[in-house]
Symmetry: C2
Amino acid sequence: MATHTITFQPSNRAVTAPTGSLVVEALREAGLDIAQPCGGQGRCGRCAVIVGSGNIRRRSTIRLSSADVAAGYALACQAVVEGDAAILVPEQEKIERRLITDKTARKVAPPFGYDPARDQTVRAWPLSLDPPTLADAVDDYSRLERALARHGLRDLDVPLPLIRELGARLREADWQVTAIVETDDWSQPNGPPRLIDLVKPSPHPSPPGRGGGGEGLYGVAIDIGTTTVSVHLVNLVTGEALDSAAEYNGQIARGEDVISRIIYAGKNSGLGELGTLVRGTINEVVGRLAQRNHVERDQIYKATVAGNTTMIHLFLNLPPASIRLTPYIPTVTHPRPVLASEVGLEIHPLAGVDCLPGVASYVGADITAGVLASGLAEAEGLTLFIDVGTNGEMVLGTKDWLVTCACSAGPAFEGAGVVCGMRATRGAIEEVWINGKTFEPTYRVIGETRPRGICGSGLISLVAELFITGVADKGGKFKMDLDTPRLREGDHGPEYVVAWAGGTDIGRDIVLTKVDVDNLMRAKAAIYAGFSVLAQSVGVELKEVERLLIGGAFGKYINVEKAVQIGLLPDMPWDKFHFLGNTAVMGAYMALLSRDARAQIKAIAEKMTYIELSADNTFYDAFTSALFLPHTDMSKFPTVVALGKNGRA
Amino acid sequence: MATHTITFQPSNRAVTAPTGSLVVEALREAGLDIAQPCGGQGRCGRCAVIVGSGNIRRRSTIRLSSADVAAGYALACQAVVEGDAAILVPEQEKIERRLITDKTARKVAPPFGYDPARDQTVRAWPLSLDPPTLADAVDDYSRLERALARHGLRDLDVPLPLIRELGARLREADWQVTAIVETDDWSQPNGPPRLIDLVKPSPHPSPPGRGGGGEGLYGVAIDIGTTTVSVHLVNLVTGEALDSAAEYNGQIARGEDVISRIIYAGKNSGLGELGTLVRGTINEVVGRLAQRNHVERDQIYKATVAGNTTMIHLFLNLPPASIRLTPYIPTVTHPRPVLASEVGLEIHPLAGVDCLPGVASYVGADITAGVLASGLAEAEGLTLFIDVGTNGEMVLGTKDWLVTCACSAGPAFEGAGVVCGMRATRGAIEEVWINGKTFEPTYRVIGETRPRGICGSGLISLVAELFITGVADKGGKFKMDLDTPRLREGDHGPEYVVAWAGGTDIGRDIVLTKVDVDNLMRAKAAIYAGFSVLAQSVGVELKEVERLLIGGAFGKYINVEKAVQIGLLPDMPWDKFHFLGNTAVMGAYMALLSRDARAQIKAIAEKMTYIELSADNTFYDAFTSALFLPHTDMSKFPTVVALGKNGRA
């Protein structure tokens, strides 16, 4: 096959690329990172590069204007190498980091009656082996088994890597070693105990079968979000969460939502790359937690992992392709535990890593863990649990039954698919107020700097204000005849100017277009339609819901009043709303500590009835009815009606 | 650290080596292979090189004469780099290969009443999965479980690498796949069945749960000998051994006997190197068998491995150091099954590899497998089983009891430690007759060429003839006053010339020295003393033995009459001797086919009482008494006595 030389500027790196390969592949070959938020589908336009000279065929130019094309722009993910070329790579939008603040050293007590005597599954056993003699010359392995049997530990599963070090460990320690043993459902329920390590005895040992003194027994509870990875570092003896930290999922540059990631995973080395990226993020966060709490990575003997089904697939390097295609089948919803070394998790290499059970392709272990942590599975009265992150999943039920569905809301509420949208980091407008007479906005910006865009809570707030003040009508259409310079015809049709260029940090007007409003309305309608379908499926009314539990980072920053005003959340008394924060990582934390909790999550996963909305006839009607501000049926939103016609007119 | 340039001739390769490193390390760095039969102890002298110029310190010069040292010779394993140097590497003695003849296509029927319906542990199950629909959208894994459950297969253990391919395999096969499943004691007795693979359905399928048609289910039974690796390729459905092959263990160049190997394994990268070498040999033999029988390596789903304890350690990369040091403790005598991919065995990567149980450091799985194959464990009458290879192990017993010991006979009977000794390959004198009047020898040479040395059977035959014809006395001392040019004073003292230089293929006289005779007498005395100690330990006489079973390659070529004449084997009627060939590989073959056989080997290993000769007071006396031709107590050797004083005088 013919190869060509592709030279990238300004880095001046050159690589050879075969005919027919993509420019993104050449970029990767050159070690240049370029964001592909849509996963390389040519939909988002963020990977645009400028072809200075040479033979590059543009396969698709969606997102590029004819002026862009004339100026040499091409989408790297859609540009095919057909000859030598020189390509200019514009400076990339950096993913802002670290506005995710870690709750340093904020300890969390175990969320239930944790009793080490009953619950602790990883324990330290100081052993005193009989040194071998000619009269007692059994092999090291049998000698170790003999010492463990004295504590009632029999038929241990000992991994080969540990057997390889057995002789040296026992002799170096002069036959006084501490065995780290995991009991309970490793690889199979009621399976044999498993030896994880033999360590030097602590100068401050705990009683046999505990290990909280010098031994140090730790675990990590991990939630892999599409956007954010959260980790709790847990003391396995006291049950205390010592510390927690979070970081953006390193996969973001390869797709903002799960669909984009799945598409990216289907490309050549995409699956491996996404796996490496998310493990990189997890390992970085775990490393940070270990360092600042003076814990060795090798003292972390256990991990539980929550996350949506796609995230779990990518973490385990399972191809997620079929999750995206009807009838939406994952490879596995409840993977067996694996070893840390099998999945590249940088804790003790022989630590067990337990990915929690999910329900279906779009209701994953983050939701089952969330149901556990939220207490929904023990609720007496009708309860609705929602977790709106990059996806929107919801569960309706009581302690006796659970129904669930997932809405492909898309990442609009995380700022994607909106011209001036951005994530909730420094420079994002997070709340907006519009003057009902002048239609002039005021706003609050994260980090108190000049604005760079609008994040999810800002968008909800903005759309609600536009509606309440009558700038937009029930159908989301701008009233262009209002006397304000803020409303105008832009390149993409009608738009409202939130901030003039001079007041921003980006040198351009920050606007919300009619197309943006339509996107946001579709997203909120999908979620509300989900509520409706769940209620209808079991023959109840939404107003019968006694408690509405909101999990996820989104819930933490949302303004309920505004969310009700646009019809995203049902209109009910505010005291019924409960914001629980990251319920997924909390559920993983509970499962890390307790076999009961793990059994409960499994029972929850088995008990949940999943409703596939794309196969549900009532969904489309409910969705269409919700495609208004706040809804076709205003009787469902009495507090919004009470604000008067379009609220503050 | 200072580094120096070492240039090797005639290859003209140069490498840099730090001060204090060994010349063998520089040789390895240069990619030059040099034999170290003693494992780098400086004892054998085979790694001698010539220091042309430069700064090399000789740490030990055992095996080098002062003339050698003056001529520039140094032992590469004992020569320390202290500056730049130029070194000439003499042409190495090649390890002769391939005189081990494979019994091409000689099929062997299963050695017991093999009944696939009862015994077959790896089976093929053609499955027809329900294609997923929106109404039946369970994950691939659960769908597979459902299909397997219809055949009564539940709670399968499915390794992560297979889960990673599950989605693609099922879809490519359009939901019609054949599952390869192993049942029975994988990783734990009565554990769950294990999925090894999902393959395309055969166009010629077998009935469910069999798999002898197009699927092809094969296994390999492996015996790792210190000198020779032997493999049977077995059809797991019919139980037939389709073919077998053998090859010299690639570790030979790093030590001729287990002690040398253990020492070598203790050097820097020695352990990994020895593991790589033996796996290389096994993989080569398995590949040869697969190719000539039109079997894919991936169709080999199971392996059993016999071998002495050191060989099993090196195969599994377990450090063997403590095997050599009192009180002689191995890491493990009965390793759990591992996966082929864990140990680099190139069969199906998820095939189970079951190393059979041994008894102690010097009575390994080759002996327990041999006891099984020999039938000793079911013998009604007193039976003695011996396996003389590089080591000499023996077992005395009946179906009710077994005692065992190992003699460090050394590799004399494999031709090592004897000036003109060599392995039983082309050019080796394998049998000698001496004229009782002229003391002139005649001999037979393997391959019918001119001789190059003397192999084990040749040495036994030669020593017996020297004794019977009166050339040597009871003490092994040459009668130098006999009128023959064959007896003379050589460089190493008195010697007998077997072949004059002109008649050889090496241009030197082939001789047997007094020192050689002493070595051979010590080796045979150790073995005979072993018999004595075993008998004494249970209070019986050797003459009560009803059957003497001889396993191992050595037994195949030995001349019993001669072996009795030198006192290596006890003097008993010939019809009590039974030569069984390689009983270790035969036992591995039985264990491969049958769970009963595996349970029996385990029971044998547990039942055997091991006597450590170095800790046994009676051994030294028995050894000293046996340090004569044939023995101090001639009454134990009536047929030798019947030959007349010194036999043919």
